[in-house]
């Protein structure tokens, strides 16, 4: 299992459109991915409800975990982008 820690770049945090784009990307990858705050419980990263319920704000760190390193790298790039600005 690989792990990545990433800081959320989207100004609204991981809500609304950024959360939607992120969870869609996870679902499209077909990989099992979890997301959580450092030290907190891990949630299914393809669930927009779970991701929103984490209440992750702009500039906060999250930990992603998956068996698939390639997918993890893509998701890190996505979260490092201000998804709300595009």
């Amino acid at each position: 299992m690989s792990q990545r820690t990433v800081v959320i770049a989207s100004r609204v945090g991981l809500h609304a459109r950024p959360a939607s784009l992120f969870t869609q990307a996870v679902a499209a990858s077909g990989a099992q991915v979890t997301i959580g705050k450092p030290g907190g419980p891990s949630m299914d990263a393809s669930s927009i409800l779970m991701v929103m319920a984490l209440g992750i704000g702009h500039g906060e760190e999250v930990v992603l975990e998956s068996e698939d390193d390639g997918v993890l790298d893509q998701l890190v790039t996505l979260l490092e982008t201000d998804l709300d600005a595009e």
Partner: protein
């Protein structure tokens, strides 16, 4: 009012008004309290999952035919219907032998409780969640999905709440307005109604008493819903409806009904703001607050950096007028690299143009940057200095600006001293612009940041009106332009008064322009003058506004909901 009239008070969205028959929204399906545990949990699970999939597919199909904003909303709701956590948790409960619909409701409720507790954005998503739940429950039971029924005639939609998906699915040709009992002014229903230009009242307590066939008048400006409105109210609503339609489409330059021109301009703070004005019906920019560039910076921006920003703004305005105000730092806008620490009275301290006393280089760099941007873009910016108190300051600034290569130089009139001696100041410069917010602050000796003194800061205060009138008269006498770029320019009644006093341009937030343009177009110059005279005779701010309002055309009062 008719005997059966009933007035509900809520929160209006926008200024629109409409009247028509009520169409109530199909209620959410009921989950039977005695729903039996499934004989075959596997089959029940299949059926629930199929209902989820059908709801998601239906929402996606609707999204495909919708405009961008609406499609986003529908897609987000579809994504909830597709959510793996929602499906997995529901399946797990059914596996344990729970009745399938109870399982679904319990799972949705657990998310709703969590979202409501989080508040804000998440709390507003509860409507979406409940909408997904109700749709899945209906599909499972073989019922039509809840929501807006097919409309046979133009109607006012009345519901406890509309999910974004419901709002998005509305047949707009037949929707006159929206009344909801719940929701809030920042909720999805309000936002979408605002974008669609539909009169909307949210939190209309008691609207659940309305039934199909009732006739209601919806007044978003006042936040009221009136059942069985009388003919007078219907006529007033029609007036507002027609007026607002004209207002939204008008793009003409600002002028009174007898053709006296008043330039309608926008206040901006950044080059991006200027770019957003490309399609806006404004004649240019009457106040470019350049300090936005400086605020938050640790050191002064270079001439190159500034020139690039000014050039971008001028290029975006493409030949339209632009008035730049030089750095207005100090007081409530401290600047790390120039503001003097330890001033006891910063509003009365070294701020605005006064910074030149110990940081002249800052102003010279800014003027050079503006001149360079003008040369690059072929623009002809007007440049003015804030916080001018004396003729010497005006003279000194004009000399500096002209040396830098600025052709049209002006100063702000926001200190009573400058207003009283406006004629002498206008002898030194090409134009002046009244900053009514600061002028009120300095005239009334009331800190404009103190909410508790807001009555003193009213631009209708007779003393403030006197100073505005004195400045305007100096402009008329000298034949030089006198603009207003404070908030008072955005008040349609004040705009008429200012026009009557001889003001030549009004600069405001772009969203305020249509109402001001409309008010001007419905009054001739003699009426504007009469409004000015009537207001100036009044001894108090309240009486001044009332006197002005009494001379405003009743139709304009109705359309703009001026009270």
């Amino acid at each position: 009012m008719n005997a059966s009239s009933m007035v509900l008070q809520g929160v209006g969205v926008g200024r629109g008004a409409v009247w028509g028959p009520v169409a109530t929204v199909r209620p959410a399906p009921v989950v039977p309290a005695d729903e039996p545990a499934p004989a075959d949990p596997a089959a029940a699970k299949e059926k629930v999952l199929a209902a989820f999939a059908a709801v998601a597919a239906g929402l996606r199909a609707q999204a495909a035919g919708a405009t961008a904003t609406v499609a986003d909303v529908l897609t987000a709701t579809a994504q909830m219907a597709d959510d793996p956590a929602l499906r997995t948790q529901t399946s797990q409960r059914i596996d344990k032998g729970e009745p399938p619909l109870h399982a679904l409701v319990a799972v949705v409720d657990s998310f709703a409780v969590m979202f409501t507790a989080a508040g804000g954005y998440l709390a507003e998503r509860v409507t979406d969640l409940n909408s997904v739940r109700d749709r899945v429950v209906a599909r499972y039971q073989g019922l039509p999905e809840p929501g807006v029924p097919p409309l046979e005639r133009p109607s006012v939609i009345v519901a406890p709440d509309l999910s974004p998906a419901d709002t998005a699915a509305l047949d707009l040709d037949k929707v006159l307005g929206i009344v909801i009992e719940q929701g809030g002014p920042t909720g999805h229903t309000a936002i979408i109604a605002g974008q669609l230009g539909l009169p909307c009242v949210v939190r209309a307590t008691g609207s659940s008493a309305l039934v199909d066939g009732d006739v209601v008048a919806v007044d978003a400006a006042h936040g009221t819903v009136t059942r069985d409105p009388d003919d007078a109210m219907k006529a007033a609503v029609e007036t507002r409806r027609a007026g607002l339609a004209t207002l939204a489409e008008a793009t003409a330059d600002g002028a009174t009904s007898d053709g006296h021109r008043i330039a309608l301009l926008a206040n901006i703070g950044t080059a991006e703001d200027a770019e957003r004005l490309t399609a806006a019906a404004v004649e240019g920019v009457g106040l470019f607050r350049t300090e936005v560039l400086f605020l938050g910076a640790a050191t002064a921006p270079t001439e190159d950096d500034q020139a690039a920003v000014y050039a971008r703004a001028m290029a975006a305005l493409d030949g339209r007028k632009v008035v730049l105000r030089t750095l207005d730092a100090g007081a409530d806008k401290p600047l790390a690299f120039v503001t003097q620490a330890g001033e006891e009275n910063p509003a009365l301290g070294v701020r605005g143009y006064r910074l030149v006393r110990h940081a002249e280089g800052l102003l010279r760099t800014q003027l050079a940057a503006v001149a360079r941007a003008a040369k690059q873009t072929g623009g002809a910016p007007w440049v003015m200095a804030p916080m001018i108190a004396t003729v010497e300051e005006a003279r000194q600034f004009a000399a500096m600006a002209r040396t830098a290569g600025i052709a049209t130089v002006g100063v702000m009139v926001e200190i009573p001293a400058a207003a009283l001696r406006a004629r002498d100041i206008l002898a030194e410069v090409d134009f002046v612009s009244l900053g009514t917010n600061d002028l009120a602050q300095y005239t009334m000796a009331a800190d404009r940041l103190l909410g508790s003194l807001v009555d003193l800061l009213d631009a209708w205060q007779p003393a403030v009106l006197d100073l505005v009138a004195a400045t305007a008269a100096a402009g008329v006498d000298t034949g030089k332009p006198v603009g207003v770029c404070g908030e008072s320019a955005a008040d349609p009644v004040m705009a008429l008064l200012l026009t009557g006093l001889g003001i030549t341009s009004l600069s405001m937030s772009p969203s305020a322009v249509p109402a001001v343009r409309f008010a001007l177009s419905r009054h001739d110059l003699p009426t504007c003058r009469a409004i000015g005279e009537a207001a100036r005779r009044a001894p108090t701010a309240g009486e001044a506004r009332a006197a002005a309002l009494a001379l405003v055309d009743p139709q304009v009062r109705e359309v703009l909901a001026l009270g």
